[in-house]
Symmetry: C2
Subunit: 317 residues, 2 copies
């Protein structure tokens, strides 16, 4: 076992949250994580309200355990996604990319626990001031949209822990029991894991998308869009084109025109891993193959004891 | 106590190495760290051979314990610095910024233990192939010169540990017992700490340089020179100018002309913290004031037990 106050707060067995990854986190993945004792999450960021409602029902066919939904606040239809979560009585919502004041009170009145993804101390303290129940401190090693300040998990987590009173969940760079215990040592009360769960049988996604994660090495991802909003993805033809344009001083409009829309769906669902965007964390190099969700969670929790025994051995106690 | 095989290998009490920081790591700091049970290091990168010889003698007036020297391999006089270390019988040399094949054999024949600073798995395995005794896996959160791949400590350390057989030391983002235990959980056998030791009474450096570190928040540092060789330093007038030029697509030559020479000395020794370069790690936000070296080391080692007790509590064992 491995239990923290986050488990009691969210009604879960292990303090392991699966990140709500666009095009990846659908009902199979979400239900499998919750059934295995973690907190599964649906990616509201790639669903319209009706689809989210349907996905919530599909999750409930597979598990009676708590699960959550991620909602990017800046989306035009984010309020409608919040409405669905309230109507359907979802246990937990994680919000990101926007002002947490907007929906937190309304969701908490409906009994929803609210987590907010925060890439800096400033944004973490703002989230706490907005009343969220949990702060997710996410480092620049995480896949997908990251913070402008590019603060790493190792630097960010203890600094956030020192500045907020609510439980802190660490995200970015965690894929096994070593990263899990490291995050806990930094003061986190739980972890959010994305990329490792994207490389599971239950994740939605094209075979070539999952293969790209498995093949990626420690230096296989790159940050693009530093001027627009940094995103971490696997190096490919598209990232080379974006980086070349950025190196030549491309304007914001030129970059937006080059990138266009639908690039993540193109890679993740359609399997075009050269001109699509493959969101992926820097820890991908640790991922040697696809696994089942249950195996991922069992290995993280089961490996925690031996990691702690090794550390205790060093203290001679 | 906290003891790993690194302690036996280097003849030190605690697996804590002080980074060899240019203009900062002179005899007072180096001797104080070694006397307190860690491994002090002189910064060969800001010394000519005669000065290094003198500094080694000054360290030996203060301590009989082992200490080390950092040598950037690419420097024109690096071979002369190696000669000094061999002649003076220095225990440990850490090399960085260059090919570890160049000096490793010669130093080891003279009984010197060689560590090589490696910011990626590829460079770590090359260092091992060159025969080094220890690999220092340094993440992008570290101050000063960082790797082109910008891999974070959390991502890098376990990936390096899985690929090399020699002991791995974690560097970047570590300033207290939480970071120390986190690094050990990731599989490191020791830590290298820079910025926290720069903010000590014994470090060489202008009052305004040390104040800048203490004042910096989690988002107070920035990477500049991505095209030349990334360096992390505190945001100031100079970094704004460099970032503006980079954003406009400045060429390598234009950037080199803008930056010029002697910027680090200007900030560190002369106290010009606006047009000088203040090398500093991202963990600076955790540093609330200057301390003595002995206090820093006592707090890290003394705090390790409570961190482990908290983790063990979560397992219910």
């Amino acid at each position: 076992m491995f239990k923290t106050e986050l488990c009691d707060l969210l009604g879960i067995e292990y303090p392991i949250i699966q990140g709500g990854m666009v095009w990846v986190s659908f009902h199979e993945l979400c239900a499998a994580v919750s059934e295995a004792g973690g907190l599964g999450m649906l990616a509201g960021g790639s669903m319209m309200p009706d689809e989210l409602k349907e996905q919530i029902r599909l999750v409930r066919e597979k598990t009676r355990k708590p699960f959550g939904v991620n909602i990017p606040i800046l989306y035009p239809h984010s309020g409608d996604l919040v409405d669905v979560c309230v109507e359907e009585g979802v246990s937990v919502v994680s919000t990101s990319a926007g002002n947490p004041k907007k929906f937190t009170g309304r969701m908490q009145e409906a009994g929803i626990k609210v987590m907010h993804v925060s890439p800096s101390v400033t944004l973490a303290t703002k989230a706490e001031a907005a009343g969220v129940d949990v702060v997710v401190a996410e480092g620049i090693e995480a896949g997908g949209h990251d913070g402008f300040e590019e603060i790493t998990t190792m630097s960010l987590v203890p600094q956030v822990v020192d500045k907020v009173k609510v439980p802190v969940v660490a995200a970015g760079g965690i894929a096994d029991s070593r990263g899990f215990i490291a995050a806990m040592a930094l003061g986190a009360r739980g972890v959010q894991i994305g990329t490792r769960f994207a490389a599971t049988h239950e994740a939605q996604g094209h075979e070539r998308f999952k293969e790209a994660i498995v093949r990626a090495t420690d230096s296989g991802t790159v940050i693009t869009g530093r001027a627009l909003g940094p995103t971490r993805c696997i190096r490919n033809q598209l990232t080379e084109e974006i980086l070349a344009a950025e190196g030549k001083g491309a304007t914001r409009d030129q970059l937006l025109e080059l990138i266009g829309f639908g690039r993540s769906k193109r890679a993740t669902l359609e399997g075009d891993v050269e001109t699509g965007t493959i969101y992926c964390g820097q820890i991908a190099g640790l991922i040697g193959g696809l696994k089942s969700v249950a195996q991922v969670i069992e290995e993280i929790v089961g490996g925690a004891g031996p990691v702690l025994d090794r550390l205790r051995g060093a203290t001679g106690r």
